[in-house]
């Protein structure tokens, strides 16, 4: 590398500033108090890096060429289209659809990384006399394959979460064989392109296979496991971006990509751990049939005790302490607003109301926190599992709203698919009231002995109208 000019040196400092803001953004996310500031800081750093690149690349780019200025329009046009699409998507999406929105944004990033890798390869393979340097080709191949998998994988994840593609695990006949063949082919092409001939057509074939691989890998995973998959694909995109950073000798890309690659990997690990499963199990076990009525039946035989809203309302209104246990059903029913109202009424009557939040309640980590925060439930009422588990014993009513697996006592026994998963000790409460629509199982698709517990009463129906009925009941009590 020749001596750097002043603009190039300044560029390094801009990258450094950007990188530090990205690190701080992730760091600040460790506490709800600082999280938002952190995100804004990261956005600010990003804006600086982008603006600087836009304004100075004719001065600073080591690859600056005369004809370049004429290409500003690409960036302006692309930037405006992207910004409008991104903002609209982000602003319009309902809170329940967050995971699929993240999946789409992640797919966009993966696609961009793949495109950059392809464009760079085309550029230099074109001019090429002799073989390109090995590190460059390897980084390009990596960027293309990982970015490609992240792109199509994210699209499938989006489809599954949105209900466009079937949410159930979909295995091709000979799934493992196909997957193996795809990756073997990519490996062979990769070795040939890197070591023998920088062939553009073969590189493009390689990219096409990567796109197919993303689909093939994601289809067999159940819809309810998608948040874990999105997190993993997020990590992949990070790695692809880091590879582009290598290719372009751009430290901002390198650091940002690596940060996300590492943090995505550990986050995925944390998520699977909270579900008491291994990543391997998530990716290859075809678990996660997206729950619901489909898997019902098994416990249909048992006699469940039904109750009605008026009785439950009275029970709560004259109790000393009520713990509300929200689950995926509350999210589906969009019942968080009425739940807030119910809480307010009970609190006004002097009842001590708390929320017990299981770490994997819902379908994404923090799902319940986000929904309840949206409904303005003060977050000092939200208790984490370890904090509240001992309090169930002197609780009058545990109100389970569309939660199932996270309160399933069979997790305490051997031999169940959820054995060993820590659960909320709802069965220690004096009275247990469960709100659900019918006899559907939870995400894990297994029967729940809690429902036939003698202390349990079922309040059937969609959670939203059920809660609204409770609100009326409490008002009259």
């Amino acid at each position: 590398m020749d001596e750097l000019n002043i603009w190039q040196i300044a560029t390094f400092f801009v990258w450094l500033v950007g990188s530090v803001t990205f690190i701080l953004a992730l760091k600040f996310l460790a506490s709800p108090k600082t999280a938002r500031t952190g995100n804004l800081l990261g956005a600010g750093g990003m804006a600086v890096v982008i603006a600087w690149t836009f304004l100075t690349y004719d001065l600073a780019s080591p690859e600056s060429e005369p004809g370049m200025l004429s290409n500003w329009w690409i960036i302006l046009v692309g930037g405006v289209i992207g910004a409008v699409a991104g903002t609209l998507g982000a602003r319009r999406v309902p809170m329940t659809a967050m995971p699929q929105m993240v999946a789409i944004f992640n797919g966009a990033g993966g696609g961009a990384a793949a495109v950059v890798a392809i464009a760079e390869f085309l550029e230099f393979a074109d001019h090429g006399e002799g073989l390109l340097p090995l590190p460059f080709v390897i980084a390009s191949l990596l960027g293309a394959v990982i970015g490609g998998v992240a792109l199509t994988g994210s699209v499938v994840a989006f489809g599954k979460l949105q209900g466009i593609v079937t949410a159930r695990p979909y295995m091709l006949p000979g799934q493992q064989l196909i997957t193996g063949a795809l990756f073997l082919t990519m490996l062979l092409i990769g070795v040939y392109v890197a070591g023998f001939e920088n062939s553009i057509p073969l590189f493009l074939v390689f990219c096409a296979i990567a796109l197919v691989a993303g689909v093939v890998l994601t289809m067999p995973i159940g819809g309810a496991d998608m948040p874990v998959v999105v997190s993993l694909l997020n990590s992949y995109t990070g790695i692809a971006v880091a590879a582009s950073g290598f290719v372009l000798s751009n430290y901002a890309l390198l650091i940002a990509g690596t940060l996300v690659g590492a943090s995505g990997a550990i986050l995925t690990q944390l998520m699977t751990k909270a579900m008491n499963r291994s990543l391997f199990n998530v990716l290859f076990a075809g678990f996660g049939t997206a729950g619901g009525a489909a898997a019902a039946g098994e416990e249909g035989e048992e006699q469940l005790r039904e109750t009605n809203a008026e009785d439950v309302a009275v029970l709560m209104a004259y109790g000393k302490r009520v713990i509300i246990v929200p689950g995926y059903g509350m999210a589906v029913a969009q019942a968080q607003g009425p739940v807030r109202e119910l809480m307010d009424l009970l609190v006004a009557k002097g009842v001590d109301v708390q929320f017990a939040i299981h770490p994997v309640a819902g379908r994404m980590p923090g799902h319940m926190n986000v929904l309840l925060a949206e409904a303005n439930v003060p977050y000092d009422r939200l208790k984490e599992m370890d904090e509240i588990n001992d309090d169930f014993a002197d609780t009058d009513v545990a109100l389970v709203i569309g939660a199932n697996d996270v309160v399933n006592p069979s997790a305490r026994e051997e031999g169940s698919p959820i054995s060993g998963m820590p659960i909320l000790n709802v069965d220690a409460a004096q009275n247990i009231v469960v709100l659900k629509r019918g006899r559907g199982t939870g995400f894990a698709g297994i029967p729940n002995p809690l429902f036939s517990n003698e202390k349990t009463a079922m309040l059937f129906g969609d959670a939203k109208p059920s809660i609204e009925a409770l609100v009326q009941g409490v008002k009259q009590a």
């Binding site: 952190g38 890309l253 650091i255 940060l259 943090s263």
Partner: protein
């Protein structure tokens, strides 16, 4: 296309250190914030738009221009959408008992 050994090696050091930073920083985040974290990290890798811009800057043929345009669009969606959606999620966490 000038990647000297020293450049590659420096990049390798930076990569290893950044991986440690990412690991350490994220392992402190509580479950409650895992979804905003995922989404925030997602926004950060949107910096790839800078790479797409550099591609755009040196594009000449229609193929490369098309690629550059796609790259810039996708990258911008990632970065803008990512930060906006994260902010929306976090906005909710900021509300305090007294403030509502």
């Amino acid at each position: 296309m000038e990647l000297t050994a020293f450049e590659l090696l420096s990049a390798l050091f930076i990569l290893v250190l950044a991986a440690f930073v990412g690991y350490e920083v994220v392992s402190k985040v509580p479950t409650m914030l895992h979804t905003p974290l995922m989404s925030g990290a997602n926004a950060v890798h949107g910096v790839i738009v800078v790479g797409a811009m550099l591609v755009a800057a040196t594009s000449e043929g229609p193929v490369r221009i098309a690629l550059a345009l796609i790259g810039v669009i996708l990258g911008t969606i990632n970065v803008v959408g990512g930060f906006v959606v994260t902010d929306r999620m976090l906005e909710m966490f900021k509300k305090r008992p007294g403030e509502r």
